[in-house]
């Protein structure tokens, strides 16, 4: 085999447009991190390591044929559910929430695993019953979603619970859940809202209330929102220029390498930068939709659609939160925020998208 053939085989299951899109996003991440970390290479280098690990995993998943992918659904879901129950029983409490499971060698956050596990399981379930879908199947699929979500909401990790609910809902929606049922659910959710309010922890209520009046908690979390809005707003149309964000560099912005990294970006690159970033996200999302539309099986269509829509949701929620139209829920900006775990989860998702795209010729029915 020549070197070229080897290379071709190596990239055979990488989808070039998708790779281009996420590559540019991760490059942006490194550039912004350098600024957010006060012009130091500390966090960018660590993030580079995270990226390397994430891309390796993505490549492995992309090379995994679809039937293998399907086979992982039950084990991943079962493992995730077991771990979530483990967390509920033996988890470590940190910041008033029980999210982490200490396995002796490492602590893990099983809710992260379920971001993939839940839609995977639901898509698998629908594929199994594709030929004879009845209302009962939708009920079972909904239960597959609600059990882990309830466990995560109890931790309490409301942000993750809502996001996983969204990803599961996308599967239901794409699997053809009738409009009437969705309307009913919406009405039900509204009716249950006061009840849910009672179940929330104080700090969660606080965060929601704060959305309406950030000044109220100007020393605590409201401070994040206020400073985030000032950073975004003061960036103007052209931005203050790379490494020149005053909010960032005068230490006004909290969590500026993680959840609030978008404020750094928006301050330094302005509205034009934001347009570019949203364009970049839309490019990735658009490619995801194309892969979804062309996907060959029921399972892959549902999976690809859910991954793509979830990715879009993450991006929206984070940017919405930093710019003050959504509550601060602790969702990172996908592919840009510092942090290994969320990056890994996202890249695994993209690995699946690529596998779906590149294996379909072999799988066409």
């Amino acid at each position: 085999m020549t070197r070229r053939q080897l290379w071709l085989r190596f990239i055979a299951h990488i989808d070039p447009p998708l790779m281009l899109g996420i590559g540019l996003l991760m490059l942006t991440s490194l550039i912004v991190l350098y600024s957010a970390d006060n012009a130091s290479f500390g966090q960018p280098l660590k993030q580079l390591a995270n990226i390397t690990i994430g891309l390796t995993c993505m490549w492995l998943v992309a090379n995994l044929p679809l039937h293998y992918l399907m086979r992982t659904a039950i084990p991943i879901y079962a493992l995730g559910l077991t771990l979530l129950i483990g967390v509920a029983l033996f988890g470590e409490i940190s910041h008033g929430a029980r999210r982490w499971l200490n396995l002796g060698v490492m602590t893990i956050q099983p809710s992260e695993l379920m971001k993939i596990g839940v839609p995977l399981m639901m898509a698998w379930y629908f594929e199994k019953h594709e030929a004879t879908l009845t209302m009962k199947n939708y009920v079972v699929a909904t239960l597959l979603l609600l059990v882990p979500v309830a466990l995560i909401a109890r931790q309490p990790d409301l942000g993750t619970a809502l996001l996983i609910s969204a990803s599961g809902f996308y599967v239901l929606f794409l699997a053809g859940l009738s409009w009437r049922v969705m309307g009913g659910l919406a009405v039900g959710a509204l009716a249950a809202a006061p009840f849910m309010w009672g179940m929330l922890h104080d700090y969660q209520r606080h965060r929601i209330l704060m959305l309406f009046d950030p000044e109220q908690d100007a020393l605590g979390k409201g401070y994040h929102t206020i400073q985030g809005m000032i950073a975004v707003g003061s960036g103007g149309i052209f931005g203050k220029g790379y490494l020149d964000g005053t909010q960032t560099h005068l230490d006004f912005l909290p969590e500026r390498t993680t959840d609030f990294i978008f404020a750094v970006y928006a301050e330094e690159f302005g509205l034009l930068g934001n347009l570019f970033l949203i364009g970049l996200y839309l490019f990735v999302i658009g490619r995801g939709f194309i892969i979804t539309a062309n996907a060959s099986t029921y399972f892959t269509r549902l999976m690809a659609g859910s991954i793509t829509l979830t990715f879009a949701t993450y991006a929206f929620v984070n940017m919405g939160m930093v710019s003050g139209i959504l509550p601060v829920v602790g969702v990172p900006l996908p592919l840009v925020s510092y942090g290994g775990t969320s990056l890994l989860t996202l890249l695994l998702g993209f690995g699946m998208l690529m596998s779906i795209e590149t294996h379909k010729k072999l799988n066409k029915t």
């Binding site: 000032i230 707003g233 003061s234 149309i237 006004f252 928006a266 829509l309």
Partner: protein, 633 residues
């Protein structure tokens, strides 16, 4: 979806799916459009507004630190309060040269080498764009002198701050503890508990004692002021203000005067004293001697003072009352006697003949009585009065370690008392299981023998022994000891009286209790081991002396007090409650290296009891140097 089952048309299926997907695409486009509109609004429409906020007039959120709550004694005497004073502070990055600035400053205000050392330490710990204190408690004259020359000192400012003051200094140090600067560990802990926001602007936090255990009450709620600051960081105007609410005031059950008398009664002895009202668990006095000057710690202790305190053989930083663990010695005997009566192991009438030593059957080892030649014929009453060791060697052996463990743990031995201070140690009440765990050895009969006179593996803290004594005094009805009686808030409606519920009731047999109490009264009467405790007292004192060995005595050797290095002398114990028939105070005294309980510890107890029961202030102030008590233990 169709209710009846049918095979789907594949193409139709794909069509419906793509329709749904198209809706998804529309959904995403809507979301992104919302974001773009938001950005357009923030970055184009409102850009000037935010630009102003960010650049020329930054909003600065300034925390307003609440006043820390006061600590009062039961009669309202102030034990910890705040006073306002001036500090001289330097922001290192703003000065021309740090060393020259300080030298120059010292010509205006006095700066001692100690101040310099402390400043260096602060400088090492903190970031140098922060304002760091070089001098505190400036006099008005110093303030005026500096103010006139301030223009010469960029980066040096006078700030008005509240200082914590402990008027009783050393006397209350182990009780009140102190506040100190918030360090990295504190910050992490605050973040962990989601309290970091409330501590913005706060420099101090309770580090030990009540200041630590009641931190959440004392700190108060931080207020906040949003101010516009110009580019130089000066406040231009106040936009909004939420006032802080001061910390709550703690009213203690401690009687400051009683505490003072207790401390002074120790004279030169080191040791501990805990006095408890047995009827409700209120701690009346809590002494650990020596103490230290708590004000040294508030702004970071300088290395010289730290070394002195930390390396002193007197270990002034050790809270003896709460954390010191000592063999209980003979003070355990009344409790052992109750155990014997409880299990019916020994009746009150049963007498033993004391030859001056005890041997286990089949062993030649002699467990000696403190009195050479023995006490002759001894029943239970006499065993307490003369503190007969041989009697208790035998009793312990007959009871066996399991019963001893069960009964004594009922009185709280081997367990933390749960007093409202942190860092309590739990002492040690040995058991078979404990020995196996600790030494991987089985329990031997010989181990039990010395447990009977409080010299085996057992260890108690003065706090624990005080609790047990209070429980005994109250006829077996225990109230958890506590120091804070009342928490007073700025809003009277939020005042809380902290009343202790009954912790447990041992349901002592009245006859057994009566016997032990009478014997303990006789201890302080002629013929007992603590005659000096009650000589001339118009009320009856029930007491028991004890001696905790510091060094072991070899088989066959004699212990000669005068030949032993002072630090190797035995520790003296005395437990007591009074008036014996209806006790309102129970106490424990430990005088380290005090020799015999009757000679040194009992007179200290007497002075405390006299003040508490009669209001009598010792005059002239005590002289406890009398170490030649003829009473023995």
């Amino acid at each position: 979806m169709n209710k009846h089952v049918e095979l789907k048309n594949h193409l139709r299926e794909i069509f419906y799916f793509r329709l749904r997907l198209a809706i998804g695409v529309g959904f995403v486009l809507t979301l992104m459009a919302i974001l773009l509109l938001r950005f357009l609004y923030l970055q184009a429409v409102r850009h000037d507004y935010y630009q102003t906020l960010a650049e020329s007039n930054r909003i600065s959120v300034v925390p307003i630190v609440p006043n820390r709550g006061l600590i009062l004694d039961r009669n309202g005497i102030v034990l910890a309060h705040n006073y306002s004073g001036y500090t001289l502070e330097i922001t290192p990055t703003k000065t021309g040269g740090l060393e020259e600035t300080i030298n120059e400053l010292s010509t205006l205000v006095e700066i001692t080498p100690r101040d310099r050392k402390r400043f260096k330490k602060l400088l090492a710990e903190r970031r140098n764009f922060e304002s760091l204190m070089i001098r505190n408690k400036l006099t008005d004259e110093e303030v005026a002198r500096f103010a006139a020359q301030q223009y010469r000192f960029p980066g040096v400012e006078i700030k008005a701050r509240l200082f914590r003051d402990y008027p009783y200094g050393e006397q209350m140090s182990h009780l009140l503890g102190y506040i100190g600067r918030i360090n990295q560990t504190d910050v992490e802990e605050l973040e962990e508990n989601d309290l970091a926001a409330n501590y913005r602007g706060s420099d101090y936090i309770g580090k030990t004692g009540l200041e630590q255990s009641y931190e959440s009450e004392l700190h108060g709620k931080t207020g906040v002021e949003q101010v516009e600051v110009d580019s130089g960081g000066r406040a231009v105007r106040i936009l909004s203000r939420t006032p802080p609410s001061s910390g709550n005031t703690l009213v203690l059950s401690i009687d400051a005067k009683l505490q003072e008398i207790a401390v002074q009664s120790f004279g030169n002895y080191r040791g501990a004293l805990v006095a408890i009202d047995p009827r409700n668990g209120e701690v009346l006095a809590f002494v650990s001697k020596p103490g230290y000057d708590p004000s040294l710690f508030i702004d970071g202790i300088d290395p010289q003072n730290w070394d002195e305190l930390n390396n002193s053989p007197d270990t002034p930083l050790n809270n003896r009352a709460l954390r010191g663990q000592y063999p209980p010695g003979s003070t355990i005997k009344p409790f052992m006697a109750l155990a014997g009566l409880h299990y019916g192991t020994r009746s009150p009438e049963r007498t033993i003949s004391d030859p001056g030593y005890f041997t286990l059957p089949g062993s030649g080892h002699q467990y000696r009585d403190w009195k050479k030649g023995g006490h002759g014929s001894v029943d239970m009453f006499k065993s307490i009065v003369v503190s007969c060791d041989t009697y208790y060697y035998g009793l312990a052996t007959e009871l066996g370690i399991d019963k001893i463990f069960n009964y004594l743990s009922g009185f709280g031995f081997g367990k933390k008392t749960g007093i409202d201070l942190e860092g309590e140690t739990s002492g040690l009440l040995p058991s078979q299981e404990w020995k196996m765990r600790r030494y991987k050895q089985k329990w031997y009969a010989g181990d039990t023998v010395s447990v009977g006179i409080g010299q085996g593996y057992n260890l108690v803290t003065p706090m624990q022994l005080g609790y047990a004594t209070a429980t005994l005094a109250n006829n077996g009805v225990a109230y958890k000891p506590h120091l804070v009686r009342e928490v007073r808030s700025a809003r009277i409606s939020e005042n809380r009286v902290i009343e202790q519920k009954q912790a447990f009731d041992l349901k002592l047999d009245p006859a057994n209790y009566d016997l032990v109490r009478r014997a303990m009264v006789a201890v302080t009467q002629p013929g007992g081991t603590a005659v000096s405790a009650s000589a001339g007292a118009p009320y009856q004192i029930a007491g028991k002396t004890g001696t905790a060995q510091v060094i072991g005595i070899k088989q066959g050797a004699t212990y000669n007090e005068s030949q032993v290095n002072e630090r190797h002398r035995d520790h003296a114990w005395f437990i007591a409650f009074a008036p014996a028939e209806a006790p309102t105070i129970a106490l424990v005294v430990l005088a380290e290296n005090g020799g015999h309980g009757g000679g040194t510890a009992a007179p200290i107890a007497r002075k405390v009891l006299d003040y508490h029961l009669l209001g009598k202030v010792p005059q002239p102030l005590p002289d406890v140097a009398d170490k030649e008590g003829e009473e023995n233990d």
